[in-house]
Amino acid sequence: MMQFIMTLPWAIMLILFPLTGAIISFLWSKQGNKIGLVTITFVLISVIFLAWSIIEQDVYLHTIGGWDAPLGINLYADGLSLVMLIMTALVGLGISIYAISYFSADQSKRFWPLWLLIIAGLNALFLSSDIFNYYVALELIGLAAVSLTALGNTRKAFLGAMRYLLATLLGSLLYLFGVGLLYHGFGSLDIATLSRNVQSTPVLWVSFALMGGGLLLKTALFPLHFWLPPAHSSAPAPVSALLSALIIKSSFYILIRLWLSIFGPLGDGTVESIFGLLGAGAILWGSFQALRQTRLKLLVAYSTVAQIGYLFLAFALAMSGGSIAWNAVVFLAFSHALAKSAMFLVVGNLLRFGGHDEIIHLDRVAQRLPITTAAFALAGISIIGLPLSGGFIGKYFLLESALLQEQWGFVIILLLGSLLSAAYIFKVISHFFTPSSTPHDSKIIPANMEWAALLLALAAILLGLFSSSVLSIVDIGSPFELEGEKL
């Protein structure tokens, strides 16, 4: 029986379930909430079984259409893809539980099909190993994400969505240009084949510049983050959560994949240094901006800009430090997804509760919304990187790697970054406890909206406690050994 369950094609179900769910919720829009919850539950179950079979049997490889790459497209899942899929399912569940009470009937009708299509797109992307297939998946995710941003239905939401759309389309075109050159230079679209074929020629580096540029724009690495704060701060709360937690991780994931298997082995360290510098810039700039904000939602959005910086610091540290820094990336990406989605959901609760998100006018939130407050505090612990949380493990690995390599500049940036994030988190929390000078009415928050935020925040903490098992999953298929070393 167990053997039978393990042989079922869970990876493929990860793509087909949400697609089917999206279609049903489109046709039968009144039942969106129920269809959405059922679908996301199926996705979670599929991920669990896929994880189980990968842990038992090593990496997953499936030739679509029976045509092996490079002619066809291969599905491929190693430890890194698996962690990303788990991240998508967990955050997806949290956001879905929240969304059933958040949206009006009219909004809900539009939200569910697009949101389920985003989940399908993300799963497809994390399972793919083909650079053109990535492009199609990126477009799918990007267009759906923009449409959901506009669901905010305010002046700011439409302007934010428009800016976001232009940025994401530019990013896709740059990426596609790079794909074209890489294909004509080395004769394949399949990552594994490319990694065998590539040589350090002008075509290789120009295509990296184009693809990398496009992906950095989509990931919103400083100074290409201009589109992120307006979009992430004006979208409806569950959409902000999924944008910050999942969407930007998808382009970042492609960047890691391409770097590790195609470009990294031939690099001479220049790219890593640039990424490290930009990452440092992102941490400082994003944190300062976050500290300056008076509106909570913008503060959380700028905090995302800063947290993206950490992901890129790891690029620089992995140059000679190897897998410690890469493990740091996984923990930072995963814990940020959980903690940041929790934070955006908290902001959604506060906006509904008091009708505003002005930090200084928060009115005795801690007493009146204890669960929401706890969620924010726990998420904050992970964002700052306080001990035992998932964020702590990530930052600890980074620090260790920086110390081992005696990269003192990065050590200072890391410490300063944590200090700044502690400053902006505590600035918010202190206002949770005080009465506002202008007391205001409050609305009741449905329990599932409070608990969804708390559970996501709790998961960010638990990630730290279960770090060793996460590490053993990440290691499957040794995604972080550069292709050259594997041979």
Partner: protein, 229 residues
């Protein structure tokens, strides 16, 4: 960008931008020119396998067999775009556009059946000559757009659930064939050899319907009168 605060400052920024883009463009151009004249691509692999792909037009073989998974996701992208347009703007299928023009009318009377004919022809020849679902679908869509431009309402008698079904028919068929292929061959979207050409033909036919309807409805979303809420 910085708006008309300072004209000369604006000019300098533009100049810098032009210099930067020219620099990048020349690097890209250099890389393009450095490609060898002999090709490195997948053409030989396509040629070697085309006999067992079910069609003889190599582009159709790539789109509907070797890389059919891309086309599957592509159909989803079209659906996403339409859902996005509908979510941003309420599109009233019922509203009439009063754009009657007798000259255009006669033209449309001729052109629309013609586009339908071309579309079916393209679909038919796609298996062995240039053509196929994307081309047929876009010609079909263009015909529907012409119909709307002449003030006709192709969706007036065909809306609600039937229309929704028509829009998702392609993605639904892809999902069904995915499931079928998993049972029949154990591999996603792998067609049993004997059924390959008929499966490809059905997929193309449904894709044509979905592409044509989706593209024309995307147009309709912009063209139709806006409704203030």
């Amino acid at each position: 960008m910085i708006a008309n605060k300072n004209k000369s400052e604006d000019k300098i920024i533009r100049l810098l931008l032009i210099m930067l883009l020219t620099l990048i463009a020349s690097m890209v151009a250099y890389a393009v020119l450095s490609l060898p004249e002999s090709a490195t691509n997948l053409q030989r692999l396509v040629d070697n396998n085309i006999d067992i792909s079910g069609v003889s037009n190599p582009v159709t073989a790539v789109l509907l067999n070797f890389r059919v998974y891309d086309t599957f996701l592509e159909m989803v992208v079209l659906l996403v775009a339409l859902l996005g347009v509908w979510s941003i703007k309420e599109v009233p299928i019922e509203s009439m556009n009063d754009l009657k023009n007798p000259v255009l009318d006669t033209l449309v009377d001729l052109l629309v059946p013609f586009s339908l004919l071309v579309s079916i022809y393209l679909l038919w020849v796609g298996a062995h000559a240039p053509g196929g679902a994307f081309q047929a679908g876009s010609v079909f869509g263009a015909g529907l757009v012409l119909l709307m431009l002449s003030g006709r309402q192709p969706f007036l008698n065909f809306k609600g659930l039937p229309l929704h079904f028509a829009l998702i028919i392609s993605v639904t068929l892809f999902i069904s064939i995915s499931i079928y292929s998993m049972f029949a061959t154990g591999e996603l979207l792998k067609y049993p050899l004997s059924q390959a050409s008929s499966i490809i033909f059905i997929l193309e036919g449904m894709a044509t319907v979905s592409i044509g309807l989706t593209l024309s409805l995307l147009f309709y979303g912009i063209y139709t009168k806006k409704k203030y809420k």
